[in-house]
Symmetry: D2
Subunit: 317 residues, 4 copies
């Protein structure tokens, strides 16, 4: 199995590192226009190969290094600067996608394409249109990372293991994203009915009020800004989220992941890429789950769709 990562920046290099450490692929190829950078990252990661499952890392500033990949992850792009909204980055990045995608599809026509570059929903839409590949074969990391942030905060708040917090964020990877509270569960308890845990002395810990939920949802949206302010980029969690998605594809897992893909008649939403819980397997996005949503959630999702479609139109897509 071969995974190529386009863009050897903070996100791309950490994603390669995480994927290798997790044994997600036998060969990881890094491609970047910056030859010195890509060589340095390949050396630094390669030196750690001894401590990983059997694997190989290669890299180049020649796109041929991506040839015959099973999965191509696109992280090339400009860093998001403190204060800059994700949608502001759109125009330049779409230009980049127009340059890169045809070259990639030429060397790796059968790969599944995972877009990570922001604004990821618009970038995914652009990549799909430009590549002409079947919808499903091109999708974005979407709100996998946001959902993982949500679950992390809920786990810390409730004291329940994060693996038992089943909650998704849908919509845009960005400011208009929507936590799907009404279908979320903790274990098999609806999240909105969670009453906390009663200790041996009768005290209750980890209750989750509506105010808590709102605060947590707000923290999810702001945390990316906070991280970028504090360290200039986000890379660790997105590296893991990306690796998880790669594993779902290469392992043909049929895994539910809130990735960003082309919607065509999903709860009345059309002609836009955004995230809804979807089944991911060897061919990419296999199916989108029709989630029962509250009126607010559905309204929010449609608003997110309209906003994203507007951006696409304004960029001539």
């Amino acid at each position: 199995t071969k995974v190529s990562v386009v863009g050897a920046g903070s996100v791309g290099a950490t994603l390669a590192y995480a994927a290798l450490m997790r044994g997600a692929a036998r060969t990881v190829a890094l491609y970047d226009i910056n030859a010195t950078k890509v060589e340095a990252e390949v050396l630094d990661i390669g030196h750690g190969i001894q401590f990983m499952p059997m694997a190989e890392i290669i890299g180049s500033d020649d796109v041929a290094v991506c040839a015959d990949s099973d999965v191509v992850v696109v992280t090339a792009g400009a860093k998001q600067h403190a204060g800059q909204s994700r949608l502001d980055l759109a125009e330049a990045t779409v230009g980049l996608v127009k340059t890169i995608m045809p070259k990639l599809v030429e060397v790796a026509p059968n790969a599944v394409y995972l877009m990570v570059t922001n604004p990821v929903d618009v970038v995914t839409y652009a990549a799909l249109k430009i590549s002409g590949l079947p919808s499903g074969q091109v999708f974005g990391s979407g709100t996998v990372l946001d959902s993982s942030r949500l679950r992390y905060l809920l786990a810390r708040h409730t004291g329940v293991a994060v693996q038992n917090i089943h909650a998704y964020i849908a919509g845009e990877h960005g400011d208009t994203e929507i936590p799907l509270w009404s279908s979320a569960t903790i274990g098999s308890v609806p999240l909105t009915e969670w009453r906390g845990m009663t200790g041996p002395d009768g005290t209750v810990v980890g209750r989750l009020t509506e105010a808590d939920r709102e605060r947590i949802a707000h923290e999810v949206v702001t945390s990316a800004y906070k991280i970028i302010e504090g360290k200039g980029a986000t890379n660790y969690a997105v590296g893991l989220a990306g690796s998880r998605i790669i594993e779902a594809v290469l392992g043909d897992e049929g895994r539910v992941l809130p990735v960003s893909s082309f919607l065509d008649g999903y709860l009345g939403i059309d002609d836009v890429c955004l995230s809804v819980p979807s089944i991911v397997g060897r061919e990419g996005v296999r199916h989108r789950l029709e989630i029962r949503m509250s009126v607010e959630e559905l309204t929010g999702l449609r608003r997110s769709a309209d906003a994203l479609r507007g951006v696409a139109r304004s960029l001539g897509l």
Copy 2:
């Protein structure tokens, strides 16, 4: 961290093997009255240590080998014979528990006790009463295995990854167990509303009708009998389930697991050990989740409770 496994039979040895392979504990101690058997198992597992995360296996027919364990797993007992119902084994096994528990508690007073020996709910109740330990510190593997069987069959039927099938079996580990369909979900879709996946050509696969659910529930109950008929014991899945529970304790995970523990006013059920989704952490069972159940499910659970209480009474517990 030290885990002791009491009984080096099919279940005990495989559980030790699985726990070591998963890195669940630094030291695993096997204790069995059969000295030749325990020595053989320790040698056979020890010879594989090179291929595992750093660990150590020791064993003896002297209970002192369990001293100062963090977790003690009790698998000692008689094999379940083909045709024999789980409850038939009760009497002899409760006698065994009366002999072993005091000796174990003497050498490992602070351990969390995980009962696996069948009939596991009655054995757990007996172990709790005999040991005098706080409820929570003594619990049974319960329907963790049965739930894992259910999820496996649902995953195969629907084509969704088993990690996204959130369904629990509650009640007795045995013939009266109840699948909690009404609170089960696939991703965040209620299981009872699952409509299958629509492929690119419009065909739908993996629908799940009520008849499918009944057939699958039936298969879960009968599969243990089938395995015992075919190979004389069940050991592989229970080894993994046991290891998973150990990890929840040693990692203080706050993990939701349908283990068998003492109920005291749980949905009107008292003075019996049976399985409901519970939070497991370093101290053992921390909390039992109050699941919304359908009338049939609740009736079934109470019937299961009455049956188990009846057995306990008839054994003088």
Copy 3:
């Protein structure tokens, strides 16, 4: 990736379990003439899939289940009985190999064949001749298990991590096997010069005298008998050793493993299968290392070769 395991007995089923737990293959197929047994093992292992990396287990009494495997592991055979020497089993087992191999090669012509059934060296020789496949594509687990036993005992004796004990056993997997002491090292210290560790108080622990080495070598040879006496079969360590070999093949690792393969002019030894440290990769055995041996070691190896060649001849191979 697909691995087939022929023979769902103690060794085959445990090997399948270990390989799945380690994520060594995406699909494991079990094939056994005993349909009830194979179905029971598949169910028992399948029920644990939830606790493993993404994988699938299938099984049948129809050899077609092995179709298009990447690796086929042959464990079919009779259990070794207490007291019975490994070579005694030869005749019946060679007959079995004659029946199975052509059918396997028909459905899985490109697979690498890993023989585990005992007497493994003779079985490997037979399988190679019968299949007509290139030498290298058919080899035996050989002394991988024995070397792992040796390292385990040396690690316990010296207090050094087993991963830093570099010692191989060569020759027959059986009574005439030879520990290659003269080339063994601990860290980068020749094993024969190991002086133990000096504690802070000046006391030395873990010295390794010639008498210690002899005792340990003897324990390795006798431990299989001891385990069979105590539990009727050996399965745990061999399951891990087999999984390790599979990983070396599927990961194209170039890993040094003392597997049993056809020697043709190796240190003057010809026309026999036995174990020497060899490089294993995607195509099977890629290269045999020319180890510097002491006179005793080389003499022992040749004696082992003569004994094995004799058995092969007496079986008409």
Copy 4:
């Protein structure tokens, strides 16, 4: 188990990430004087917790966050700038060590201290003297990373799995370091006698001449400079190397690792910290292996020792 990482820069944060992904510790605490930075790193890593083994990450600019650690890893310091020799950084860094160590020892008196900050050998010497802790409890990551670089290059050159390349670099982590060729092995073949692999067509690949060795040794020394030039820091491999050392301590592994520790009569070398293959366990460095060295190697090691001792003296240590 608790591991604290002092300094949440490239190295510290990546090391925390790697340790969590590998399950090396239950709790990782990040401590940095830069509060915004440490908070951002903790958030970014925390958001990925869902994809890791059970673990927790905390962080603060208050040293109390390190309280009661089992291991403290010190990475605080200034980045090595392109062109700057490692020893040039010494003075400022020793000042930093003088400030930090007493505070750390106060809150975590029983921790094992792993120094990573460069110049690591001098920093280790300073930390040992300042802390007053027993030699063995304070040591440096030394040439673990350099040895891993060496093995990586040798593996690529020979085509043998890196796990079977047993070669250490000793001495200073820096320009005077010495590859211990004379005791290195590939599998059990002395590295200096490695003749490559013979393919089925008789061609030999992966020979290793003296010129190859020299070129590879040179590449190891220069690669750190190259990486820093290309990406401004090295973090991925050192994160894994650090995690490996932590695992050796927490797992009480008795693992051979070329860490930097205080030498007192080692092959005639005294009163200096530098790297030689050493046994690492729960208490830290347990024993230093007396390697058979060639005259050149021993001369080189002594020269390295003299250089390091000189630096220490010039810094008033």
